[in-house]
Structure formats: structure tokens, C-alpha cells
């Protein structure tokens, strides 16, 4: 029967080629537009560190004065997005988590040893010792540094694979010297091209998606050498705009907590720290207790995905709804026009179910064609997004789950769209229609 109904459907679709093309186009455009945007959001909201992310947390303390908190950026966010140096160092020293690290983004001028090469700027991260182990950054050679080297402000650096290759070619970089902003650093480790997407650990900004950090050096070394830092540096009160002030936030702070008990204990510890500091006259915002964000919750809180992208996705979904309504109305009109044909079939013994299946197959066929077109349109849409200059552009690729998701969405949408018309069609009474003819 299926083959027969399919044949009937093909014949019916061929009878009105323009209309068929119109319906396929409507489904295709709707599916294509929404799948493009859903795919972009899907790849952007992926877990940057699968397997580890559940153990990583961002503690957040609000040391600001109430007026500063109120006037801060565009409203709604009630927590600062960074730490003061004082709090970061206190938490590092007290060492209550399995691992903890403070960090800030920066950039430095790299002078290649080969005089023929021009100096250039590279982006990097100033971090403390636990960074590599906590985030599971894979070393190709060498290792990170120790807490003692942090305190000694050691002139050591870990390079990412890209910069190591650029400077030293295929030769091993470990042990070599590299000149960053006019100071010699000893390379003690090389990472295996590590660039989690998004770069969750850094301050939220334009570089969260896209380019990888090319070097990592001890935070206090960078501060001593007054290298250039990037990111928000926000001061209040009479904090004389100094990196070491307790009235300027600029550092990111991460901790690793292996189980819920530790998470709970760390939360208690933060509360105690907060109260203790309040007793010393800090943390004037009594209504803003400390917070402990999980990695994914932190990314959501920081709006890592631009609002405009999620708005574009909802627009596309709205467009899909308009397309689907259009297709339902067209199918309904088309099926009901064949009331005469349906009456004859019913009068000759076809059950309602048979009529329903016949028309269901016809709409599913349109849906499948529309889905295929949608898939092609989505690929084109993703291609055009990859041409955008934004950092996330290169991520816009359809993976296997999204591929199946697209087809599933297309078929589900079209079956759903065909359901109402097919149902109305099977309600056509056998005799009445014959009479009116």
C-alpha cells in the first residue's frame, strides 16, 4: 500500500508543480534559516572542557561599594566579573580547594631570535601555577611552574604549539630563551595546541571565541615587569588605580572542587571569608553574599553567547512558524479540493485510516523534500556565517547530531503540518460529496 500511496502522492504533487515547489521552498527556507542559527548556538554553547567542567568553579565576591555596583555596566548583572588582587592572593594562599589559580589576559611583543623575522605581538595569559593541572592543559614537552616560582617571579614561560612552531620551527622549544616585551624568558613547557572554545577562563570579551592564547607566564612576573594587561580594570573609592589595590577588580579566579562535599565546604569557607573581611571594613554590600558558579553556569551568567545571536535564532524560529502555517493552509486547501476524489475512495470501501495515511504520506513527501532543501540552505547559511569576521565564525560547522536534528525537525515539522489537513481530509463523508457533483 505504501508504494501505491507514494505513487499517488507523486502524481498529485506533479499535477501542481508550482504549488509543490512553493511548499517545498517554504519548508526549506524555514528549516534552513532556523537550523543555521540553532547550529551556531549549539556549537557555541558546547562544553569547552568535557569531562572536567563539572569540577571547575568560579567563586565570586563583590567588594564594590553600592553606588559603583549600581552604576556598573548596563544594569542587570548583580555580581562583578572579576577579583581584586588582594582577594585572589588571600584565596590562593589559604589553598582550600584541590587546585586554584588567578589569571588575567595580556599581550606582549615577541622578538624572534632570528633577526630576519619582524617582532610581533602575541596574546597570552598571566596565570598562577595550578592553572595547567587544573584545566588539564596537555603538555607536548616540559611542564608548568611551581608555586615557589610564582612567588619568586620567575622568568619562565609556557608556549602554545602555534607560537613555539613560529619561533623555533620543529626543534624542541623547551629550554630555549624567548624575548617577550624586552625581557628574556626561559621556555619550560610547550602545550599541544590548547584552545578550549570558548576560552572560558578568560574575562568575557571579544576574544572568548577564536584565537588561542599563545603564551602563559606567571602572573606576578607580569605584574613586576608591568607588562600590558587586557580586560576590564574597574576601580572605585580612592583605590589609586593600582593593580595591587583592594578596590580594583581585574583578575579571574578559578577553583577545582572534586565532589559535592567539597563544593559545600568551599561555599562555607567563602561565606566565612566574606564575613571576616566585613569585620575589617571591606565588602560594604551586605546584600551581595559570595557566589560559587559552576563552569557552564558561569558562561551563562557572563552571557558568553551574544544576545544578538539568540535573538537571531528566535527570529529564525518565528520565520519557520510562518512558513509552516503557510504550508498547512496550502495543504489543507489542496486536500479539501480533492473532496470528490476522497468521497469516491470512501464510497468504494476505503477506511478513514486509509485516507489519512494516503494524505499523510503526501505531506511527509513534501516535508522530506523541504528538509533536504533546508539542509542545503543551512549549509549555505553556515558557510556565509564562516565568512563573518567574528571569532565564533569558524565554529559554524554542522556536526552529525545537528545533521540528524535538521532532518528530524524537517520531517517532524512536515508531518505535523500534514496532520491537520490529512485529518480534515479523512473526515470527508463518502456520500455527501458524490451527491453535490
Amino acid at each position: 500500500m505504501f508504494a501505491y500511496y507514494l505513487d499517488l502522492a507523486v502524481r498529485s504533487l506533479k499535477r501542481n508543480p508550482v504549488l509543490t515547489a512553493l511548499m517545498v521552498l517554504a519548508i526549506g527556507l524555514g528549516i534552513g534559516a532556523s537550523m543555521t542559527m540553532i547550529t551556531v548556538l549549539h556549537v557555541m554553547s558546547g562544553d569547552p572542557l568535557p569531562g572536567r567542567s563539572a569540577k571547575l568553579f568560579v567563586p565570586m565576591l563583590d567588594p564594590r561599594t553600592p553606588d559603583h555596583a549600581q552604576a556598573a555596566r548596563a544594569g542587570a548583572r548583580d555580581t562583578p566579573d572579576a577579583f581584586t588582587f588582594v582577594d585572589a592572593m588571600n584565596l590562593l594562599r589559604e589553598h582550600r580547594a584541590d587546585a586554584q589559580a588567578a589569571m588575567s589576559s595580556g599581550s606582549a611583543a615577541v622578538t624572534p631570535a632570528d633577526a630576519g623575522q619582524h617582532p610581533f605581538f602575541a596574546n597570552g595569559q598571566y596565570v598562577t601555577a595550578d592553572f595547567f593541572q587544573m584545566f588539564g592543559a596537555p603538555f607536548d614537552a616540559g611542564t608548568g611552574w611551581t608555586n615557589a616560582q610564582d612567588d619568586a617571579r620567575a622568568r619562565v614561560v609556557v608556549l602554545n604549539a602555534g607560537l613555539a612552531r613560529k619561533l623555533f620551527g620543529d626543534a624542541s622549544a623547551v629550554g630555549k630563551l624567548v624575548r617577550l616585551d624586552n625581557t628574556e624568558f626561559r621556555v619550560i613547557g610547550v602545550l599541544r595546541d590548547w584552545h578550549p572554545q570558548p576560552a572560558f577562563y578568560a574575562q568575557h570579551g571579544a576574544r572568548v571565541f577564536g584565537g588561542a592564547d599563545q603564551f602563559f607566564m606567571p602572573l606576578q612576573t607580569a605584574m613586576e615587569l608591568q607588562l600590558s594587561f587586557r580586560g576590564h580594570f574597574s576601580c572605585w573609592g580612592d583605590g589609586a588605580e593600582s593593580r595591587t589595590s583592594d578596590q580594583c577588580t581585574w583578575l579571574q579566579f578559578w577553583v577545582e572542587l572534586d565532589n559535592p562535599v567539597q563544593v559545600f565546604a568551599y561555599g562555607r569557607y567563602l561565606d566565612n571569608y566574606w564575613r571576616d573581611q566585613q569585620a575589617h571594613g571591606r565588602f560594604p554590600r551586605k546584600d551581595a553574599p559570595p557566589h560559587l558558579f559552576g563552569l557552564m553556569a558561569w558562561l551563562a551568567h557572563e552571557h558568553i553567547i551574544p544576545d544578538s545571536l539568540s535573538m537571531q535564532m528566535w527570529l529564525a524560529v518565528g520565520f519557520l512558524a510562518v512558513c509552516m502555517l503557510s504550508v498547512v493552509a496550502l495543504l489543507l486547501a489542496k486536500f479539501l479540493r480533492r473532496s470528490g476524489e476522497i468521497s469516491v475512495r470512501r464510497a468504494m470501501g476505503a477506511r478513514r485510516r486509509d485516507v489519512f495515511v494516503q494524505f499523510g504520506i503526501e505531506s511527509a513527501l513534501i516535508g522530506t523534500l523541504g528538509g533536504l532543501l533546508g539542509l542545503a540552505i543551512a549549509q549555505f547559511g553556515l558557510w556565509s556565517i564562516r565568512q563573518r569576521p567574528d571569532g565564533y565564525a569558524h565554529l559554524a560547522q554542522m556536526d552529525v547530531p545537528m545533521l540528524f536534528g535538521t532532518m528530524l525537525l524537517a520531517i517532524a515539522a512536515s508531518v505535523l503540518a500534514g496532520l491537520l489537513p490529512a485529518w480534515r481530509a479523512c473526515l470527508v463523508p463518502p456520500a455527501l460529496q458524490l451527491k453535490t457533483q
Binding site: L19, L22, L25, A26, L29, G30, A33, T65, P66, D67, H68, A71, R73, A74, G75, A76, A109, T111, H118, P119, F120, F121, D181, N182, A206, S228, C235, W236, D238, A240, E241, S242, P306, D307, S308, M311, Q312, L315, A316, G318, F319, A321, V322, C323, L325, S326, V328, A329, L330, L332, A333, K334, L336, R337, R388, P389, D390, L420, R424, Q437
Partner: protein, 410 residues
């Protein structure tokens, strides 16, 4: 034309009618909000910078090794740049309107004030008014005697000393009006720290912030006469005739490289490039919104064409009968046009409510203002037009049905 028979006919196609109305309502909601979003983005993109945009180029450079005297190096560089033919003015700044990298200060109206009054952009640097092409509307310009080396001020701030203050400053008109409405700002004092006071000596008409996300505070700026010295956060500004920009830019980069080969040019661009880079996202978003609106109109229009064609085919016989009974071709066309107008109108009425609901949803999730009612008629007019255009073809086909059809059976 009597609309009652049309309504009576429509009652026989309730389900299709509902679907079509829902589609039109949804389109109306998307179009109204979409147009509103576009207008907002366009207004945002039109934000004035205050600088002579088409005459400006920016060069940001960084020395690999810090020069022995960065203040002297800055003066040398400025002198070098001034020599380039076609340069009208040179300057140096720590930030550029819409440059992205911003430096802001907490402005207070008294040294003992517990909380700041507002945050304003702090422009430091050399010769900013002529180099940016700003308009001084009252007071005096900054003169060489006003300038102090940045290190001196930083040291005074760190020591809590008020030596050297108050310093002269220029502020933007928007900031002056906000701080002292109805009064002359000239001679007034503001504080950026309890020891750091500044006396307003002049007012410039407009100068936007480097990071202007909030339209209300985008124009709060002040210019402070500090020598910043040559380092990597500072930019050189060159003003020239629009047609000379590319040549001047290339010559300036070459001249700076010649003066010190061991430096890296991190940015060399015209102000127009900088500005379009800053608003790139808004530009992409307006494009996206406009194409969605067009696509929605297209799909809705095609849907109407399809349905109207069906109805025409279905009613061939009735049309023939009407023609045979004396209806003119125009009557038939009008019938379909009125029918379409009614359907679209019902859809639009529902669509206005939906548009409002959608606007509330957007306000909740995206910090957007409420949809002003003037946008509602835009969606309505667009849909009425597309409806009439779409129905015209099928209606003309209906009018072509000959009266003789009435006499044929089946």
C-alpha cells in the same frame, strides 16, 4: 460592495481562515518588532562621535624596547608626523570614540562626596581639539602650559597630594548640561579622586566615549592635558583631507618605522574603518532583520497566492453563475480583493496584540525598550499591500471565467 455574503462564505472555510489569520498575525508581530529593532540599531549606528570622521587616521604603535624617555619620543614622533605633506593636524590620545578600548573616571562634584556622580570618559593626550576636529563652543582651548607629564600626576595621586591641582579640563556639552543644568560650566570644579580636582576651562560640542553602549551616557567625556609619552596604549592621530587619507597613512607608517625600526605598528587605519568595525555587529544584525522581514512577507504573500488560486478554482462554477446573473468582471475582482482585505485585517488585529506580547518578551530577555505604537501601522500597511498584490493575480483569473461555465455540469 456588500461584505456580508463574503463573511458567510468565509464561515465555510473556518480552519483555513484561522490558519491564514494566524500566519498573518505572526508575520505582523515579526514585522513590527523587526522594523523597530532595525530603527533602534540604525539610530545606534548613527551615534555622533564629535570628531571629523572622514578626515582622521589613527596609528597605534608599540616600541619593542621602551625608549629612554617616552615623553621625548612622543614629541619626536609628533614632529616627524607633522612633516608629512597633506597633514593638517597631529595629536596623540589614549582612546578614540568607538575605538573599543576605553578609559573612564568617576566624576564627583565635591572631594568628600561618598559616591561618584557619574562615570565619564577621560581623554588624555596632545593637541586633541584640532587633531580630532572638535568644536570648542565656549571657554578657551588648552595651551602648552596646561600640560603635565602623566608620571607626575600618578605620583601625586599615589601620595595623596593635591599639588598641581586643580588642573584645567575641557568637557563635552552633554556632560556640562548633566552636571550643571542651566548654569555656565566655565570655572566649575570636578573631582576624579578626593585629591584630584579639575577646573572646567572650555566646552566642546560633542565627544563620544570609546565604548558607548548606553546612549544616555555615551557623550559624557572630558579632556585632560597630560603628556602620556610613547607607549603601546597611545595612538597618534592625523587629520588630513579625505582624499589624502590612504597616502598620509602609508607615509606616516613609513616615517614612524624609519624613526625607530624596532617598533610594531598595531593599528593603522582610517577613522571610517574604525567606526564601521565598532558597529559591525549592528550592521550584520540589521541585515539579518531586514532579510527575515522580507522573507516573512514573501512567504505570506506566496501563501495568499496559493490559497486564493485554490478558492478561485474551487468556485469556478459559482463565479460563472454570478457572471451569468449579471456581475461584471470588476465585481468578481472586487469580491476577491475585499475578501483578502477582510482576512488580512482580522490577522492584523490579532497581530497587533501578538506584536505587543512579543515586545514584552523581548523586553524581559534582551533589555529592549517597549515597542512604540507607531510601529504597529507599519506592519499593518505592509501586510495589506502584500495581500492585495498577492490576490490580484488569482482575482484577475477569476474575472476571466466566462459566464458560460454556469451552464456546464461538473
Amino acid at each position: 460592495m456588500d461584505i456580508l455574503p463574503i463573511l458567510a462564505t468565509l464561515r465555510r472555510h473556518k480552519v483555513i481562515l484561522w490558519l491564514l489569520m494566524l500566519e498573518i498575525a505572526l508575520s505582523c508581530a515579526i514585522i513590527c518588532n523587526g522594523v523597530f529593532l532595525i530603527v533602534q540599531r540604525v539610530q545606534h549606528m548613527d551615534m555622533p562621535s564629535g570628531v571629523a570622521e572622514h578626515e582622521l587616521v589613527q596609528i597605534q604603535q608599540a616600541p619593542i624596547a621602551p625608549p629612554p624617555d617616552r615623553y621625548a619620543r612622543a614629541q619626536e614622533d609628533l614632529a616627524t608626523l607633522r612633516q608629512i605633506p597633506g597633514v593638517l593636524a597631529v595629536g596623540m590620545t589614549n582612546q578614540v570614540p568607538f575605538g573599543g578600548f576605553s578609559s573612564n573616571g568617576n566624576v564627583m562634584l565635591s572631594p568628600t562626596q561618598p559616591h561618584r556622580t557619574l562615570s565619564a570618559a577621560e581623554y588624555f593626550g596632545e593637541n586633541l581639539v584640532p587633531a580630532f576636529g572638535l568644536h570648542l563652543i565656549s571657554g578657551r582651548a588648552l595651551v602648552p602650559d596646561d600640560y603635565v607629564d602623566a608620571d607626575v600626576v600618578i605620583k601625586a595621586l599615589a601620595d595623596g597630594s593635591s599639588k598641581g591641582f586643580p588642573m584645567p579640563t575641557l568637557i563635552s556639552q552633554a556632560l556640562a548640561t548633566r552636571l550643571w543644568p542651566q548654569q555656565s560650566p566655565l570655572g566649575k570644579l570636578i573631582w576624579l579622586a578626593p585629591t584630584a580636582s579639575f577646573r572646567v576651562v572650555g566646552v566642546v560640542s560633542t565627544l563620544a566615549r570609546a565604548n558607548a553602549y548606553n546612549t544616555a551616557t555615551a557623550q559624557y567625556s572630558m579632556i585632560i592635558p597630560l603628556h602620556m609619552g610613547a607607549d603601546k596604549d597611545q595612538s597618534y592621530l592625523l587629520r588630513t583631507r579625505p582624499e589624502d587619507r590612504q597616502r598620509v597613512l602609508a607615509a606616516a607608517v613609513a616615517a614612524l618605522k624609519r624613526a625607530d625600526p624596532a617598533r610594531v605598528i598595531t593599528h593603522a587605519r582610517t577613522y571610517d574603518e574604525l567606526r564601521s568595525g565598532y558597529f559591525r555587529d549592528d550592521h550584520a544584525m540589521t541585515g539579518m532583520l531586514a532579510s527575515v522581514i522580507l522573507a516573512v512577507l514573501l512567504i505570506t504573500g506566496l501563501g495568499i497566492v496559493g490559497l486564493a488560486s485554490f478558492w478561485v478554482a474551487q468556485r469556478r462554477k459559482q463565479i460563472g453563475i454570478r457572471r451569468a446573473l449579471g456581475a461584471t468582471r470588476a465585481d468578481i475582482v472586487h469580491y476577491f480583493q475585499t475578501e483578502n482585505f477582510l482576512i488580512v485585517t482580522f490577522g492584523i488585529l490579532a497581530g497587533m496584540l501578538l506584536a505587543y506580547g512579543l515586545s514584552l518578551l523581548l523586553m524581559m530577555h534582551y533589555e529592549l525598550p517597549r515597542l512604540p505604537w507607531v510601529y504597529l501601522p507599519i506592519g499593518a500597511i505592509a501586510l495589506w499591500l502584500i495581500g492585495q498584490v498577492a490576490v490580484l493575480g488569482p482575482a484577475l483569473r477569476a474575472a476571466a471565467v466566462p459566464p458560460v461555465v454556469a451552464t456546464r455540469s461538473v
